[in-house]
Symmetry: C2
Subunit: 105 residues, 2 copies
DNA sequence: CTTTTATAAAACCAAATGGTATCATGTCAA
DNA sequence: TTGACATGATACCATTTGGTTTTATAAAAG
């Protein structure tokens, strides 16, 4: 795995995006992550697997726990893809802003 | 629709991301988009519907054709979400870079 | 050693997804 | 008007996805 596709796929689910937000604060075990959701640990673990496949998190075993952390490198492919559009979004949004300003004159 | 979720969902499929790249060049009818893929027009139209639901494209009818265009505003919710992480990615990547540089000294 | 705790792994299920084929509709051209 | 063309809409299908339950394994606690 670890293709750009797997990263985009991982980001498509709201639960997984919430997990990323949670991990921004601090590293968490599967159980700790699961406490914040109304679903089983098994389900949460599956989401963590998808996030790991997408390269968005890394995991290390600590005793009987498995700790997940955000992986800053993992977001790179996604950012690269967006960068391809940046020029477009920027110029179009600027044009839009101009149009609105002219309209309100 | 037009929720952040629908935008993330739309971006999760490689065909749909390819369509966005194609539209960056110029506006296209469904048939023109479909020429670039090995699937039926109906399938392409479904993808365009998902992209439209996500707010990533806009469409206008021109005669019997339906022209799709990139919607620069549509990407905003996605960018906002990433912005929430920007500090994290930046500082961590900087730390990583430092570590690598120190390692090579 | 026994029990609890944290996770792994697999089987299973309903719903969503990505695709097809088919038919209806509206527009352009002859 | 007639026919060709571009799309819309629907029904249908196989696969994937997000979830549960159950069983197994390994580490921590008593």
């Amino acid at each position: 795995m670890h293709t750009p596709q797997s990263a985009f796929r991982a980001l498509a689910d709201p639960t997984r995006r919430d997990i990323l937000v949670m991990l921004r604060g601090r590293d968490l075990s599967i159980g700790e992550v699961a406490e914040n959701f109304d679903m089983t640990r098994a389900a949460v673990k599956k989401h963590l697997t998808v996030l790991s496949d997408g390269g968005l998190i890394t995991t290390v075993t600590r005793g009987r726990e498995r700790i997940s952390s955000l992986n800053p490198e993992g977001i790179a492919p996604v950012c690269d893809w967006f960068a391809f559009f940046e020029g477009f979004w920027d110029t179009r949004l600027a044009a839009l802003k101009d149009a609105i300003e002219k309209d309100t004159e």
